[in-house]
Amino acid sequence: MSPETNPPPVTVIEVENLVTHYGDREILKGVTLDVREGEIMVIMGGSGSGKSTLLRHLMALETKTSGTMRILGQDIDTLDQRQFFDLRKKMGVAFQGGALFSSMTIGENVMLPLYEHTDLDPMTMDIMTRMKLEVVELGGFEDLMPSELSGGMIKRAAFARAIVMDPKILFCDEPSAGLDPVVASALDDLILLLRDAMQMSIVVVTHELESAFKIADRITILDRGHILMVGTVDEVRNSSNERVYNLLNRVPEDDSMDMDEYLHRLTGVEVNKDAAL
């Protein structure tokens, strides 16, 4: 009898050999990555590692130089505008600063995607909005303005808006940034709740180690546009890779520099290394 095997995990995002540039500068240098259904994938890396760029590409907000991306089984290069629009409706985003409209109430902010993307009855939209505010523990706050909320509450409201359409994939950009540890930990709990209750696939970019270790099913570590490793929390913690160790233990970067590259950055003029002194 053959041994019982688990079915392979369903993949919601598949990225292969993603290369991106800002101007002449190569940011992502051939990134291959997958995000599985119902998992929390945390993307970590130092400043300039490319993690924010990768997140924007996973959200299909940027144009890549080369490589392939499949989101919820669809190759994004083959989608027409309507298909792309439908795909985006299945993705929610909690932006780093909340990105709430200051002139609208919390309820109006949360309801906005429903107004923009659906023809639901106003009563249905109103109940959905209030339900999501309950989920993020902001029940009864719908009539307040963003200016009347604390930083942690703003983040929660941003989460409510991000999940109001029941997205299949939720993207979170630095959810804990600027929050005190207690509030940050509560936000981590909320992310875990969304995964477990709504079976969402969640991609989180963070530099907060404690948060990453608490919520991640898997962690991707980016380093200078390359993937250094992808693994579970234990695999990352026990990694023998020196650069992973340095990142986890906040060891400062090596001070040495590539002089030609640095001069190129400062002057914009490339020097033929063979011809240089």
Binding site: T118, M123, T124, M125, I127, M128, M131, V135, M198, Q199
Partner: protein, 110 residues
């Protein structure tokens, strides 16, 4: 999504089949509110519902509230694990009467 309405002595059984989502929940809402307007108590049979999203749950909430206003009841029967998770997320499992079967639901509204 399809639906079937069955008259019983205690009220009506509304059985949905398929997914109740952004596309189909307006139909589900209309069916339920029509039954409420006719002054009937309702058992919502969810045994053949694969997935119900927040718009579907919102329709259940609105219909339940309308039924209560008219002195009637609305209970849920055969709620799948996934649907129960969505209900629990907004603590609606404490709001709705959730029955294991349609028969239990009919007894609850009777």
């Amino acid at each position: 999504m399809k639906h079937e309405i069955r008259e019983e002595a205690a009220g009506v059984v509304v059985a949905f089949e398929g997914d109740v989502d952004l596309q189909t929940s307006p139909d589900a809402r209309k069916v339920l509110l029509d039954c409420v307007r006719q002054g009937k108590s309702i058992v919502v049979d969810l045994s053949k519902v694969g997935y119900i999203d927040s718009s579907g749950v919102a329709s259940l909430v609105e219909s339940f509230q309308s039924a209560r206003k008219g002195g009637r009841n609305l209970v849920l029967a055969s709620v799948s694990e996934g649907a129960l998770r969505v209900l629990k997320l907004a603590r609606l499992d404490k709001v709705f009467t959730i029955c294991d079967s349609v028969e239990d639901g009919l007894a609850a509204i009777g």
